[in-house]
Amino acid sequence: PRKHELISHLKSGKNFLRNQDPEKAFVEFKAALELAQSLGDPIEEKKAARGLGASLQRQGKYREAIKYHSMVLAISEREGEDSGNTEAYGAIADCYTELGDLERAAKFYDNYISRLQSD
């Protein structure tokens, strides 16, 4: 039931993102993140964090977006399971590029690139 609610927030979030409404998407992903955390579901927790990062990026809030994309990396480390990391490294690098911090962007892109060939 709460898992069902969680999935439905993720789905709405994605739809809002697709329809260019990142503010509403943010609200959905935020609700999803809290549910995923209380349910102890790391896979959905990562999806919510990634969604939050993407929503903030679309709003031009790059510093905050980095915070949520980094959360994906932190969850991976905590769980010993690295799905979603390639995308997170790429997204963080995109944000640093937007912020003009090319030095830091390059470091994250290097992590991203080194993972492109693995599955």
Partner: protein, 88 residues
């Protein structure tokens, strides 16, 4: 470091294609698709894009210690900008 914005644009270019093709595929497959199948199809789309981008991306990131020269890296960047119309 001049090549960093090109990496970002090339990623965005490929991601647009990936998402558009994935959505076409999912709509063809209908709603009766299992979670496992959904995941496999998503992995397929990412796998193809990532493996195709690996070479170009790597050749946009080689400075200093690397054997590839800066000139070559910049030539790669210019070619990619042209070929994917990344500067428009």
């Amino acid at each position: 470091l001049e090549t960093v914005p090109t990496i970002k644009k090339l990623r965005a270019y490929a991601e647009r294609i990936r998402v558009a093709e994935l959505e076409k595929c999912l709509s063809k497959m209908g709603d009766d698709i299992s979670k496992k199948a959904r995941r496999a199809v998503d992995d397929l789309s990412r796998g193809i894009v990532n493996k195709l981008l690996h070479g170009p991306m790597q050749h946009l990131r080689c400075d200093g210690s690397d054997s590839r020269t800066l000139t070559e890296t910049l030539e790669n960047m210019h070619a990619l900008n042209r070929m994917f119309s990344l500067e428009t």
